[in-house]
């Protein structure tokens, strides 16, 4: 028997930079349009955080309501913002990846000369865009109906932090997308997303949760993102921001590592 020929990993094509940029741009555009028109995604990812914010942040709001020293409706922008960013990122990456990987579409794309990285980059970029949309909607609602006052600097910092904070959850989504089946992905995401949100104090402020849960929250990445966001509007537990960033960066790297194992396992199935 002859020995198996050694296969090289896909090599980069000498494309002009402008063409590579065009591919990335079109990949992001198509991913965005696909998801925008997929109401199961766009309505849910935008609708749930907005609905929660309207119910808890606006309907239950009163002029003097506050959590600690932070105005109620402002506090909830940070926490429901984190909740919204998480949802947009997890469903945006894991949902699409698990389905396309499991049902053959990724294979069609891999057989084409598409740069493989463009595929993942588009999923992440699309999730970041949706995260920004959710946060901006919460801002608009809070400012117009909730009596929220944010300085331009605070607005930019809060938006920037939350949108950047979508990246750890995109990484988690890629990892889930590589290990979940096309039919189970949404259920698995929900089973991770919803308890994680609750335990991180995104629905109900952490101070209302039992002591044990308050402690437990410290190991949960959404807690750290919400603390960064709350810190900007003067709320939260007032811990060092470095801890939060370190946890989020570490978490991102671990998730990317897991996603990479999944990627290689798939490639192994393909090439092995």
């Amino acid at each position: 028997m002859t020995t198996a020929s050694t296969m090289l990993m896909p090599t980069a094509v000498a494309r002009p930079l402008s063409q590579t940029l065009t591919i990335y741009w079109k990949e992001v555009k198509c991913e965005f349009l696909t998801r925008l028109r997929l109401r199961a995604y766009s309505l849910a990812t935008i609708g749930f955080p907005v609905m929660f914010y309207v119910l808890f942040g606006l309907v239950l709001n009163s002029k003097d309501a506050a959590i600690g020293s932070t105005h109620f409706a402002t506090y909830l922008i940070a926490t429901y913002g984190t909740f919204g960013v998480m949802g947009a990122s997890l469903f945006g990456t894991a949902g699409g990846l698990a389905a396309e990987r499991g049902l053959g579409w990724l294979q069609v794309k891999r057989a084409s000369p598409m740069p493989p990285f463009a595929y993942f980059a588009a999923k992440v970029a699309m999730s970041v865009i949706f995260s920004a949309i959710v946060v901006l909607l919460l801002f608009t609602l809070g400012v117009t109906l909730g009596g929220v006052h944010l300085s331009p600097a605070e607005t930019i910092k809060l938006l920037g932090t939350l949108v950047l904070g979508s990246l750890p959850f995109c990484a988690l989504g890629l990892a889930i997308g590589y290990f979940a089946g096309p039919n189970s992905a949404v259920a698995i995401i929900n089973l991770i997303y919803l308890p994680l949100s609750f335990c991180s104090g995104l629905w109900v402020p952490l101070t209302f949760l039992p002591n044990l849960l308050q402690k437990f929250a410290h190991v949960l990445p959404p807690y750290h993102l919400s603390q960064l966001a709350l810190g900007i509007v003067g709320g939260g537990q007032h811990e060092s921001n470095w801890i939060h960033w370190e946890v989020l960066i570490g978490f991102t790297l671990i998730c990317l590592g897991v996603a990479r194992i999944g990627f290689q396992r798939d490639e192994g199935k393909m090439y092995g």
């Binding site: 028997m1 002859t2 020995t3 198996a4 020929s5 296969m7 090289l8 990993m9 896909p10 090599t11 980069a12 094509v13 000498a14 494309r15 063409q19 065009t22 591919i23 079109k26 990949e27 198509c30 349009l33 696909t34 998801r35 925008l36 028109r37 997929l38 389905a99 396309e100 049902l103 053959g104 579409w105 294979q107 069609v108 891999r110 057989a111 084409s112 000369p113 598409m114 740069p115 096309p182 393909m270 090439y271 092995g272």
Partner: protein, 319 residues
């Protein structure tokens, strides 16, 4: 429009002009399952080769090997003078794969536009739409397309990069007769433009009507290879029914006779070619009557061939 497309110059010949794609002693095992075993076959430039076999024969595995989506357990895969995982090789290949679900909320033209961007010299969007017969429905959302239209979009994604080699895995599966013929027409046009096409199918009729050369595969092994006419004669032969006073052993001894069976008072004689046997039959028994010559049903004969790939009566087309 279509006329202008046809007068386009044929694309550049690949550097190694004797073969475009080649599986050399290739085996592919998935754990215990032997998907392909010691398969040798090649596709030459400008040729339309059909890889014919029933479901599970190993056709899709062969396609994946050619596309660099799987690595052979043993043997060598060469395509367009290179390795299928090299992007510059992929640039010159268009592939149509079997896919369970395509993103449904993109429009036809958006799908094509995206895939076109992967290639360095793609066709114009309009050209691709015309070739795939999608011009009228270019703004339709994928999820709203009929089965045939969906299949044509996958075909459009394969041709949009103006590749030299098209690899089409079961391009007409699930299509009705009319949609199938439309796609055949489009595939023929590509070959007339100098493209090389490798397609897999489990319809003998499809291989027969399209291909220059047919490779029959079953249980991961190639069991016959040749022109459609050769394959058909080798596979199917003819069936002569008649009334004769010759006995069954005499009939069996006639040259070119594969098998004889008695059906009530008639004989049913399976032969490779009808004419020599008929001549001999008439010479030996001038009273022979009720002669009826039929070709064995294509699908039926194909099934007989593939279900019996070790059968002794099977003429092997392998060189």
């Amino acid at each position: 429009m279509i006329a202008t497309l046809q007068v386009q110059e044929p694309t550049d010949k690949p550097p190694d002009s004797s073969e475009v794609a080649h599986l050399q002693g290739v085996s592919k095992h998935f754990g215990e399952v032997r998907a392909l075993h010691n398969v040798d076959f090649s596709v030459r430039p400008g040729e339309l080769v059909a890889l014919l076999g029933p479901n599970g024969a190993g056709k899709t595995t062969a396609v994946k090997l050619f596309l660099g989506l799987a690595r052979p357990t043993a043997g060598k895969v060469r395509i367009l003078g290179g390795n299928p995982v090299q992007s510059e090789v992929r640039m010159r290949i268009g592939a149509m794969m079997q896919v369970a679900k395509v993103p449904e909320t993109l429009r036809v033209r958006e799908h094509i536009d995206l895939f076109s961007s992967y290639y360095s010299k793609p066709l114009l969007l309009e050209e691709t739409l015309i070739i795939a017969g999608l011009l009228e429905i270019k703004d339709r959302i994928f999820g709203e397309l009929s089965g045939g239209q969906k299949q044509r979009l996958l075909f459009a994604l394969a041709v949009c990069g103006d590749p030299d080699l098209l690899i089409l895995d079961e391009p007409t599966v699930g299509l009705d007769v009319e949609a199938r013929r439309l796609l055949w027409e489009q595939i023929r046009k590509l070959v007339s433009r100098g493209k090389t096409v490798l397609l897999t199918t489990h319809y003998l009729e499809e291989a027969d009507s399209l291909a220059d050369r047919v490779v029959v595969i079953n249980h991961g092994e190639i069991i016959a290879e040749g022109t459609p006419a050769e394959i058909k004669s080798k596979i199917t032969g003819r069936r002569i029914r008649c009334l004769t006073r010759l006995d069954i052993s005499t009939l069996r001894s006639l040259p070119g006779v594969l098998d004889v069976q008695k059906d009530r008072d008639q004989f049913e004689i399976r032969v490779t070619e009808a004419e020599p046997v008929l001549r001999e039959l008439l010479r030996r028994d001038s009273a022979v009557s009720g002669i009826e010559v039929t070709s064995a049903g294509l699908e039926e004969a194909f099934l007989a061939l593939t279900q019996n790939n070790n059968g002794d009566s099977m003429p092997s087309g392998r060189n």
